[in-house]
């Protein structure tokens, strides 16, 4: 991992079989084609991205190839940097949510929720029970939408085009629901400090029920179409293995961590919103390969739908938001709040100096850690595997670059 200016840092150490801290930092630049083998062929250094069909946005990966084999790879991030953390210092608390949406644009609700939770902690605002349930409901719907995008792009990365369009078909229903409730398809700004923007309308409730009534069957179809495919399994089983130690060492969270056999989920282990009242399972896989990450995410969609059903059936009566001042001025102090976004633990550390704007907002993007782990395990695989590995850890560049 390096930014665009950095040319020397930790060069070459990722070429080792297992990532470990280097004994001494090599002086050679990793970016210079270094390999000349016994038949005097040189390695090829290719720029995968920022314009490339499968870099999920504007990721740039420098890949050193020996034929088809990846010898070293280095990801270069920052092409989508918008300075969300800095911008947040110049926005009132009520307006930061719009920035957070633009972080991880695939799962906006979770980003807003992380900020809202941190703001509530620092300003000591209580949230009505109904608002918490609505947060969980919308969050889980958004999780399904996000995982569907992942499923579809995983198909694209392994060369299957249809899966993406089937996934987008179902996601369209979800975006329709989210638009009905929040007024926006992706940039919701729905979860605000103190509660949520709108209550659920009967029409939206009907749509959600309709979606949930068919989704499990659709999910089985999706799973059969991609996961049940012989070629997909040959491409993903045993490829891109992140073992338990590596996963923990890289600070992976979310489905990537659970696919490596560590059962950790912020929703269960540090419950927020109304997750302590929900009944759901945390899927865990042991093998840590791409297929394990795939299975975990598929099962998470099923569990998310289950949580949605509980929410819609047991939605408590009450207000959808607490009475919050128009201009929020929390007392000086700081707070950290984390949510389980579809990509892992998404945390917001908020420092208040008593004014109406945050003094500092730090945003922990889970996909960044996934990207680093992917970068570490890619050397030694084939070019086609590299694409699948980077896709499998679910990188969203909006979140990584912030």
């Amino acid at each position: 991992m390096s930014d665009a200016r950095d040319t020397v840092a930790h060069a070459g150490w990722l070429t080792a079989d297992k990532p470990s801290l280097p004994d001494e930092i090599p002086l050679t630049l990793k970016r210079v084609p270094s390999g000349v083998d016994e038949v005097m062929t040189e390695h090829l250094v290719v720029n995968m991205g920022p314009q490339h069909p499968s870099t999920h946005g504007v990721l740039r990966i420098l890949v050193e190839l020996d034929g088809e084999e990846v010898i070293a790879c280095e990801s270069v991030v920052g092409y989508l940097h918008r300075g969300i953390e800095k911008l947040a210092e110049h926005r009132r608390y009520s307006a930061v949510g719009t920035l957070m949406d633009r972080g991880d644009y695939v799962s906006g609700i979770h980003n807003e929720m992380a900020f809202a939770l941190a703001a509530e902690k620092v300003a000591d605002i209580g949230v009505p029970r109904r608002a918490n349930w609505l947060r969980v409901l919308m969050g889980e719907l958004n999780r399904i939408a996000s995982h569907l995008v992942w499923y579809g792009t995983m198909g694209l990365d392994t060369g299957a085009m249809g899966q993406f369009l089937y996934a987008v078909r179902d996601r369209e229903d979800l975006l329709d629901i989210l638009e009905d409730v929040t007024g926006q398809r992706m940039m919701f700004n729905y979860v605000r400090p103190g509660g949520v923007l709108n209550d659920l309308t009967p029409r939206a409730e009907k749509k959600i029920r309709a979606f949930l009534s068919t989704f499990d069957a659709y999910l089985d179809e999706h799973h059969a179409l991609l996961g049940g495919n012989e070629i997909f399994q040959a491409r993903t089983r045993g490829i891109g293995v992140i073992d338990k130690e590596t996963a923990i060492a890289f600070g992976l969270t979310g489905a990537n961590l659970r696919a490596s056999g560590v059962s950790f989920d912020v929703r269960r282990d540090r419950p927020y919103a109304a997750y302590d009242e929900m009944d759901f399972d945390i899927p865990v896989a042991e093998s840590g390969d791409i297929y394990a990450r795939y299975l975990v995410r598929i099962e998470e969609m099923r569990q998310a739908a289950r949580i949605c059903r509980q929410c819609i059936d047991g939605l408590p009566e009450g207000e959808h938001t607490a009475k919050v001042a128009k201009v929020l001025r929390p007392p000086a102090g700081e707070a950290y709040a984390a949510v389980e976004s579809p990509r892992g633990e998404l945390g917001v550390h908020l420092v208040s100096d008593g004014t109406d704007r945050p003094y500092r907002m730090r945003y922990r993007p889970p996909a960044l850690f996934g990207l680093q782990a992917a970068e570490a395990i890619t050397p030694g695989t084939f070019l086609a595997d590299a694409v699948a590995i980077f896709g499998s850890v679910d990188v969203v560049l909006g979140e990584i670059d912030r």
């Binding site: 090829l44 069909p53 499968s54 060369g159 299957a160 249809g162 040959a234 084939f382 595997d385």
Partner: protein, 331 residues
């Protein structure tokens, strides 16, 4: 009539067929893939977008054609031609009916394979000349896969040849009047489909232009009609492969239980319908399956397809020799 005039007309017919096939396949690709993908495909130009292809062709013809700075100019301009010409020549031996064939060659099957094996030359030239690393990898992949699958493809085509006792494609098709060869040669039929998918560069084996890995493979740096030629030849290869499949295994222009004479000129239509049904299946595969990895592809070619096709050729050879002995001359 003048011999040269006839030859020229035949070549023009092949060219016309190739262009028409390209137009049909672009439309078919969009619509078939579209409906497989629960979307509509082009709908604006004409009823159900039938004139979209026309607009595409116009676009390809009129588009600016920039040449990248560092390309090997001669090869860069030549490569689409090197790809295009063999594709066109391959039409020569395809029998559309018992009498409609551009050139009725005694070694038609061998000729078609020989001509088609020139294709990777053009692809690797395009990849090399483009001065683009993705193109280069694409070109190298195309050579690797075509070299590996040439032999299994030819081996898979041998059982029908042995049963029909001829390398002439017309004779092979005619020999299927009793039973289409896919039934007695089922393993060879399946092997031929797999090897043919590789040779025609079709999903799940579209290694040389794998868009999620290599951007657009060997075609990355090509624009305008040069790109058009590359893709025309690809569509044409799909057609050639499908017509070989139909000729070798699916009875050519014949319909079961209908005497050939009764078909008359409709035989060509029957042939084309069969070819496009095969192409439909190819598109179905394309809309569904992920892509295999290049090493898996090569391993499958050398370790599975080649031995399997050799074994089946031996079995067929033995059967062809033993059949008359056992059943008394009914070959």
């Amino acid at each position: 009539m003048n011999v040269y005039l006839v030859a020229l007309l035949r070549i023009l017919a092949a060219l016309g067929l190739m262009l028409l096939n390209g137009v049909v396949l672009i439309y078919m690709l969009r619509k078939v893939l579209g409906y497989l993908h629960v979307r509509l495909g082009p709908m604006e130009l004409g009823p159900h977008g039938v004139f979209q292809t026309l607009a595409d062709v116009l676009k390809l013809l009129t588009k600016e054609d920039p040449t990248p700075t560092h390309v090997d100019r001669a090869l860069y301009f030549l490569a689409p031609g090197i790809v295009f010409v063999p594709s066109l020549m391959a039409y020569a031996a395809i029998p559309f009916t018992g009498t409609w064939v551009i050139a009725d060659l005694e070694l038609g099957l061998l000729y078609t394979f020989a001509i088609m094996s020139l294709l990777p030359l053009g692809l690797v030239a395009a990849g090399w000349a483009s001065a683009n690393k993705w193109s280069l990898i694409g070109g190298m992949r195309s050579v690797a896969q075509q070299v590996s699958y040439e032999v299994p493809l030819l081996m898979a085509a041998l059982p029908p040849v042995m049963i029909a006792g001829s390398l002439n494609l017309t004779d092979i098709a005619r020999a299927q009047s009793a039973v289409w060869f896919w039934l007695p040669c089922l393993p060879a039929f399946l092997l031929f489909i797999v090897a043919g998918l590789v040779e025609a560069n079709q999903t799940p084996f579209d290694m040389s232009e794998a868009e999620s890995e290599l951007v657009a493979g060997f075609a990355t740096e090509y624009a305008s009609m040069k790109f058009g030629l590359l893709f025309l030849s690809e569509f044409s290869n799909t057609f050639i492969f499908s017509s070989l499949l139909v000729t070798l295994f699916l009875g050519g222009w014949q319909v079961p239980f209908v005497p050939v004479d009764a078909l008359g000129g409709w035989a060509a239509v029957v042939f084309l319908i069969k070819v496009y049904l095969v192409i439909f299946v190819l598109m179905w595969i394309r809309g569904t399956l992920p892509r295999v990895r290049i090493d898996q592809l090569l391993a499958m070619g050398w370790k599975v397809l080649l031995p399997a096709s050799i074994v089946w050729v031996m079995l067929t050879g033995a059967a062809v020799k033993l059949w008359p002995m056992v059943f008394g001359g009914v070959q």
